[in-house]
């Protein structure tokens, strides 16, 4: 494949397109924030960005390195508390949350806690929920970004449900007491784009990245996926998008290593 972009750049561009103008998004740092900033620089200038640590609608001068660092409150409209942000999401003001994880299953349940089957002595201990479970429980739509799409990361059963997707199927979130009409809506990987089939609440392939086949996705996924009637091909990044990513959003190369 000869292309003038990296898969991470492509993922950022595909993710950005999932965000509608005039909506609010709660986001951490890394690739999700890059995608959010790109959306704001392109089709969604009125996108409201909200940070867990308390920054509301800042004018981001450059990509923050750390969740809540000085950039996340740069010329903000409001600086507040973490609990106020969580309350705000629960109250229904936040349309999207952006998450990632170490493992994901077909219902979009995310594991960012541990690998292994012994909670007391895990093979790998990850950070835990942070705000992910809160975002995934409370925001209207959860957008998930997973790179390194492989059967080790896209698994039948995650070792630990850190953050709820659709749990064990349709109606499960409501049954467990989670906010209604919420849940993951998109999964953006380095191979493709999924949504969730409304009836089964299971992951459904809706688009492959340029050069990726449906077969490639099936092979890279550890669970059976639903395949949409018309699997599209995602748009490659434009020159302008690439310029924004490198010159405006991440000039120091924190996410797109130089």
């Amino acid at each position: 494949m000869s292309r003038n972009y990296t898969l991470r750049e492509l993922m950022a561009c595909v993710a950005a397109k999932q965000l509608e103008d005039g909506k609010a998004v709660a986001v951490g740092t890394g690739l999700p924030l890059v995608a959010t900033m790109l959306a704001q620089q392109t089709h969604a200038p009125n996108l409201v960005i909200i940070f867990e640590a308390g920054g509301i609608a800042p004018q981001l001068p450059i990509l923050p390195i750390s969740v809540g660092d000085s950039r996340t409150i740069h010329k903000a409209l409001c600086t507040t508390t973490l609990i106020d942000i969580m309350d705000t999401i629960r109250r229904g003001y936040v349309d999207y949350a952006f998450l990632g994880g170490a493992q994901i299953d077909s219902y979009g349940n995310l594991n960012s806690t541990m690998i292994g089957d012994d909670y007391e002595k895990p093979k790998v201990r990850f950070p835990g929920s942070g705000g992910a479970n809160d975002f995934g429980s409370l925001a209207w739509e959860t957008l998930i970004i997973m790179d390194r799409h492989s059967p080790r990361r896209f698994v039948k059963k995650v070792d630990f449900i850190t953050t709820p997707g659709y749990l064990y199927g349709p109606g499960a979130r409501e049954e467990e007491g989670l906010s209604e009409n919420t849940g993951p809506s998109r999964v953006i990987t380095d191979l493709c784009l999924f949504d969730f089939e409304p009836e089964s609440k299971r992951m459904r392939l809706i688009a492959c990245h340029p050069g990726v086949t449906v077969e490639d996705v099936i092979k890279a996924t550890g669970f059976e996926i639903i395949i949409a009637d018309n699997v599209r091909t995602t748009d490659p990044p434009t020159e302008e998008e690439l310029r924004l990513l490198h010159e405006v959003i991440d000039p120091l190369g924190f996410v797109f290593k130089k």
Binding site: G55, S66, S70, T72, T81, I83, M86, R90, S129, I161
Partner: protein, 341 residues
């Protein structure tokens, strides 16, 4: 619509996580009456004395700031230096602060919302070792859940209903209990309140009595101060109480909650102090690399070099050098780096 269901509130499901902080709001209230003054008194003291006096082996410790932001590193270094043991810690998006406590062997239990990770910088070797071996015990929460527990502690109620963690393994490894609301019938998770024994935090300003100001996002320092028994505040600058009285809306924490006030410029280094200085990225990378080395002597040597060998934080700042420090100001204000001098 609201129902008056008049039902019993059956506990439908509950987690197995241990509650590491045993204080109840009613006990903390009694303790406060007897042990804290409401008088306006000068609370300045050296950091060495503050940590010795107010942080004890076995305490439950809360830490101000978030991630690498406004973290009370001067207190963290002093706790490590004094070899305080068996702490339980609120791992409420705790990064370098909790990592150094764990590297120093100070920690026994952690309430985990977010630990182990250094955000974009990857995972901590020190914490992986201690958590994966089971040497340090843990209970699972979320950032929201920990904040809600603190809200309950600050309000003086023994539990609080929340709408997070439901349906997940996070909940099963917490002490939460699922019940139905007696007014609406919907399921909620009840979490126990949190009243830490002691809070260490770093702020922009305070007067000598402990009226504290913070610029920018407050994160959770307001709640933590209200919930905790003891509060140690280090500040970039001590200001007059006239300045406090001139803008009382800026006072995030009133004096009677505070036990010690320590003026320590750069007290959050290598963290980011909003509107003052940015991260010391290289410093954190070096520390992280030391902690990841399989040879445990490497992190021990780091601690020797940067913690144990110093009498106090001034020696640490001297070793860093003012040129390096002033460069962090340039970073904060997105200026060309020239060290400001």
């Amino acid at each position: 619509m609201r129902l008056n269901c008049n039902m019993e509130m059956k506990i439908l499901k509950e987690g197995s996580g241990e509650i590491f902080c045993k204080n109840t709001p009613s006990e903390v209230r009694e303790w406060t009456r007897k042990n804290k003054t409401r008088a306006l008194i000068d609370k300045r003291m050296p950091i060495k004395e503050a940590i010795k006096k107010f942080v004890h082996n076995g305490d439950y410790l809360a830490i101000g700031g978030f991630g690498h932001i406004r973290i009370p590193m001067v207190s963290i270094y002093e706790i490590v230096r004094q070899h305080i043991k068996d702490l339980s810690v609120a791992g409420h998006t705790a990064v370098q602060d909790i990592d150094m406590l764990m590297a120093g062997g100070c920690v026994k239990n952690v309430d985990i919302a977010y630990v182990v990770g250094f955000e974009l910088r990857g995972l901590s070797g020190v914490q992986r070792r201690l958590f994966e071996s089971g040497e340090v015990k843990k209970t699972e929460y979320t950032n929201g859940a920990m904040a809600y527990r603190l809200r309950a502690g600050a309000q003086g109620i023994p539990f609080i209903p929340v709408k997070v963690m439901l349906g997940t393994d996070t909940m099963l490894h917490s002490p939460g209990k699922v019940v139905r609301c007696p007014f609406t019938g919907e399921k909620v998770l009840l979490l126990p309140s949190l009243n830490p024994d002691v809070l260490i935090m770093h702020a922009h300003r305070a007067d000598i009595y402990g009226n504290v100001q913070i610029d920018g996002h407050i994160v959770k320092d307001d709640l933590q101060a209200r919930a905790s028994k003891r509060v140690i505040v280090t500040v970039e600058e001590i200001i007059s109480d006239d300045s406090i009285r001139a803008d009382p809306g800026k006072t995030i924490i009133p004096f009677y909650m505070v036990d010690a006030v320590i003026e320590q410029p750069w007290g959050s280094h290598p963290g980011n102090m909003p509107y003052k200085y940015y991260f010391d990225h290289e410093f954190t990378e070096e520390y992280l690399a030391a902690g990841r080395d399989k040879d445990l002597k490497v992190i021990e040597r780091w601690l020797d070099d940067w913690v144990y060998s110093f009498e106090d934080f001034d020696e640490y700042l001297t070793k860093l050098g003012s040129k390096r420090l002033y460069r962090l100001k340039d970073d904060e204000f997105l200026r060309v780096k020239n060290g400001g001098r």
